[in-house]
């Protein structure tokens, strides 16, 4: 059974400092939503409120038709049927893998069966009798996911579950776990501060900043149409070019750029580095060249702000070369001054 998670107008202050200022979010049944934000934005507090470990001052949280939190209700965490995967797993150190996974199951004959089944899902059957300190970091997080899934929760919450793993391992474990959650079609809220991770795991991404959700949408929407300059830079590299309005497009120092939104005088137009290209000779000067193997990033001066340009090829120019920058197509957005 999986149900829709609904958060309506949740607010919370710690002392005088507002942590959450009226957050509303819906995660449809069976879907995955990534909650993305810088540290201290309130995303973990929101997660703990859904879990019932904290109480909001205002607002309502419900799963399906069950109200978990509102003005007159505060269901205890242990009665919410919500699974939570902690940042470092929080596996009980004194219990074996199987005992950890079986912890949330009622004592019955089926408990052992369910434990084996869930361990099978994360491919750790042969580790059932190990203790957490005998596992690798990636295995531990998979056990933590299995433990949260075992009691068949209606909603699964993940609190930066892979951030303690090395980059390479993180990608593999994340891929395996997210594929599994997709198959199980369980309503999932995934908290992260890593933009790349949010884009990979989330069918939908909600971006939080200073206690508010500032934008929700698909990863592509957020990347191509961020609501403001801060978000544009938070989810990727961005060039912000001063522009004037001209014939329904933006006129900038690198030429005419068609934008999705209306341009006013003094607007800034955001262009991603891969939507710009270089030509030899011109008013720009190459200040740095970073070669990453699959692409090359140039920093170019001479257009007001230093511009970043990415090309899917090996370096063609060196530091000090004169170049000109041109718009190469792709989405650009204008932000009002």
């Amino acid at each position: 059974m999986t149900s829709t998670l609904n958060i309506r107008n949740v607010a919370k202050k710690f002392g005088a400092a507002p942590i959450l200022r009226g957050v509303s979010l819906e995660v449809p049944a069976g879907s995955t939503c990534a909650l993305l934000g810088p540290s201290g934005c309130g995303k973990t507090t929101l997660l703990r409120m859904i879990a019932g470990l904290e109480q909001p001052d205002h607002g309502e949280i419900s799963v399906g038709r069950r109200v978990l939190t509102d003005r007159s209700t505060a269901i205890a965490p242990e009665q919410r049927r919500i699974g939570l995967v902690f940042q470092d797993g929080a596996l009980f150190p004194h219990l074996t893998v199987a005992e950890n996974v079986g912890y949330g199951l009622p004592r019955s004959k089926e408990a052992g069966q369910r434990t084996a089944e869930v361990l099978g899902l994360v491919e750790l059957e042969e580790y059932a009798d190990r203790y957490p300190d005998e596992l690798s970091g990636g295995q531990r997080q998979r056990v933590a996911v299995a433990r949260a899934l075992a009691p068949r929760p209606e909603v699964l919450l993940l609190d930066e579950p892979f951030s303690n793993l090395d980059a390479d391992l993180r990608e593999r474990v994340r891929h395996q776990v997210m594929e599994l959650l997709d198959e199980l079609r369980i309503t999932t809220l995934f908290v992260t501060h890593d933009q790349e991770e949010a884009f990979v795991v989330g069918g939908r991404v909600a971006v939080m900043r200073r206690g508010q959700i500032i934008q929700q949408g698909s990863p592509a929407e957020i990347y191509d149409h961020p609501v403001d300059a801060w978000l544009a830079r938070f989810v990727g590299e961005a060039n912000l070019l001063p522009a004037i309005s001209h014939d329904g497009a933006a006129l900038t120092r690198v030429g005419r750029i068609p934008t999705a939104s209306a341009v006013e005088h003094g607007s800034l137009v955001m262009v991603r580095p891969e939507y710009l290209q270089l030509r030899g000779g011109g008013e720009g000067v190459v200040k740095s060249v970073d070669f990453f193997g699959h692409d090359t990033a140039y920093a170019v001066e001479g257009y007001g702000e230093t511009l970043t340009i990415r090309e899917l090829r090996a370096p063609r120019f060196g530091v000090g070369d004169r170049v000109s920058v041109a718009y190469a197509g792709g989405t650009a957005v204008a932000f009002p001054a």
Binding site: S72, P77, G104
Partner: protein, 534 residues
């Protein structure tokens, strides 16, 4: 205000209910620990006996107590710090063994050391040409030997956790070694030194065994001798001593506050002793050898001498060993029951104190700590007067086993309390939260998360109480049921009566017991935490 709950099974309701139980328990525990001294204060004021404090008869013992306590504390700071530095930071030969051996005198009760010293020297002793020690100097030597580990242990721990980067930085910034020690090392170990010194100060103030056997008339000895003949004076002196001890404990709390040392991945720096390496080793080895082995040798000699002497009226070897069984068992039973009771009874208060913002928890912790600062003799005295004057039901408890255990728990409870608080505070919140999210209610969380993860720490704290009780003398003398001998009271009675053979065999038994307990409960855990640098 939080949301008001409709259903009784809600988080807010649970939080309220969970809070009420330990709070009541914590408040009761706090009052219990304050009650003996409060009673003493009320009685002493009512009897008007406070005026006798001002009389000359109280001044001299008071000055003697202060003089002895100050002298012992000063010398132990030097001895303890020097040994700690050698054991953790120097290249002295056999450093690992030294690190453990230096803490062993913790196992020697002061009256046992005093009895050994008096048996060793003087006419008829092992070294007859030296005078039999007594008075100030005798008490000083004995008390330094048995208390310096209270400085040594915390300072060694502080020296091990001091990050070497700071010392390197000081040297690179141009400090001479001497200035570096003064500006970097001394400030880092000062909290440990100060708190160790004040524990020694309290120990000496409350010591009864050593000063009695050395016939040095401190406040404690005065209280004991005047307790029956002159109740008013005993009460007044007890109150004075208790007040003094509480003042010292308060000072300790203020001075020993320290910044948490941050952990450094690197091992602390080790220094070369150079040409002095072997001479220093010789001094330290003979000091520790004497302190640890001498009491055992003295007792063995006296015991063998008296039981093997021709035509001796002394019991045979087998008989004197058999005579150890009952007091030995009594000691073990009393110590185990007290240790376990302290660990269990103080658990609610420990939970409160581990939570950050509980006033009741703070109150309970302070009350528990203050009962430790009050000398065992004074505590026992207060409980005796209190119980005897209480209604018959309570009065019938006088000189019963439960009352003895209660006084042990009151006096040594803080050792268990501190360890339990650390264990509880050290349990990350996430485990209880993870259990909650998996549907575990309050009792299941306690049974499956708290008990297994906190249990070992709580029991270790009870173990420290157990060790203290095994060595305890004055409260046991005052409160033990008639005919209930412990090893400690046997040693004291034999030493008072001059039966050195009995002193010998009983002390050996006691040293064996407390030595084993110290090894298991203090030194093995310590080795794990502060094994010296390589």
């Amino acid at each position: 205000m939080r949301a008001v709950s409709k259903s009784p099974r809600t988080a807010a309701w649970q939080a309220k209910a969970t809070g009420a139980l330990p709070k009541t328990a914590g408040a009761l525990v706090g009052l219990l620990f304050l009650s003996p001294l409060a009673y003493l204060a009320i009685e002493a004021t009512r009897a008007g006996s406070l005026s006798s404090i001002a009389e000359a008869q109280a001044i001299r013992p008071l000055l003697r107590s202060l003089l002895l306590a100050t002298a012992v504390a000063t010398i132990t700071v030097l001895v303890g710090t020097a040994l700690a530095w050698l054991a953790t930071r120097s290249d002295i030969p056999g450093r690992r063994i030294l690190a453990v051996a230096a803490a062993l005198p913790l196992a020697i009760p002061s009256f046992v050391a005093a009895a050994a010293l008096r048996a060793a020297l003087g006419v008829g002793g092992l070294i007859p040409w030296l005078p039999r020690p007594s008075g100030f100097w005798g008490a000083l030597v004995v008390l330094v030997v048995v208390t310096y580990p209270y400085v040594y242990l915390p300072v060694a721990a502080a020296l091990v956790t001091t990050p070497p980067d700071v010392e390197d930085a000081a040297r690179l910034l141009g400090d001479t070694p001497y200035r570096m020690v003064r500006s970097v090392i001394v400030p880092q170990i000062r909290p440990a030194t100060v708190s160790g010194a004040l524990i020694v100060f309290l120990y000496v103030l409350s010591d009864f065994g050593a000063v009695s056997l050395m016939r040095y008339d401190t406040l404690t000895r005065q209280i004991y001798s005047s307790r029956l003949a002159d109740t008013d004076t005993a009460l007044a002196l007890g109150l004075l001593l208790g007040g003094l001890a509480l003042a010292a404990a308060t000072v300790e709390r203020r001075l020993s506050r320290s910044r948490a040392p941050y952990n450094s991945a690197r091992k602390p720096r080790s220094y070369q002793l150079g040409r002095t390496r072997w001479p220093v080793f010789a001094v330290v080895a003979s000091f520790l050898g004497t302190v640890i082995a001498a009491p055992a040798v003295v007792f063995l000699v006296w015991w063998l001498r008296s039981s093997l002497a021709a035509g001796s009226t002394y019991p045979s070897l087998a008989e004197s060993l058999a005579a150890l069984v009952t007091p030995g068992l009594n000691t073990v039973v009393a110590a185990c029951v007290a240790g376990l009771s302290a660990a269990v009874l103080l658990l609610p208060a420990a939970y409160l104190a581990a939570g950050r913002e509980s006033r009741v928890g703070f109150f309970a912790s302070t009350a528990i700590a203050s009962a430790f600062a009050v000398p065992g003799l004074v505590l026992a005295l207060a409980v005796v007067y209190w119980v005897v004057q209480a209604p018959a039901v309570v009065a019938s408890l006088y000189q019963t086993f439960p009352l003895l255990i209660l006084v042990y728990v009151l006096h040594f409870g803080v050792q268990s309390h501190r360890t339990s608080v650390a264990a509880i505070a050290g349990l990350p919140r996430k485990y209880r939260e993870a259990a909650r999210m998996l549907g575990a209610g309050r009792f299941r969380r306690f049974a499956t998360v708290d008990v297994p993860l906190i249990g070992p720490g709580v029991l270790a704290g009870g173990g420290l109480v157990l060790l203290s009780v095994a060595k305890e003398l004055p409260a046991t003398l005052l409160l033990a049921p008639t005919g209930f001998d412990t090893l400690a009271t046997r040693v004291w009675n034999a030493a008072e009566g001059g039966f050195l053979g009995d002193v010998g065999v009983t002390s050996l038994g006691l040293l064996l017991l407390s030595g084993t307990l110290t090894w298991v409960l203090v030194l093995r855990p310590m080795q794990r935490n502060i094994s010296p640098a390589d």
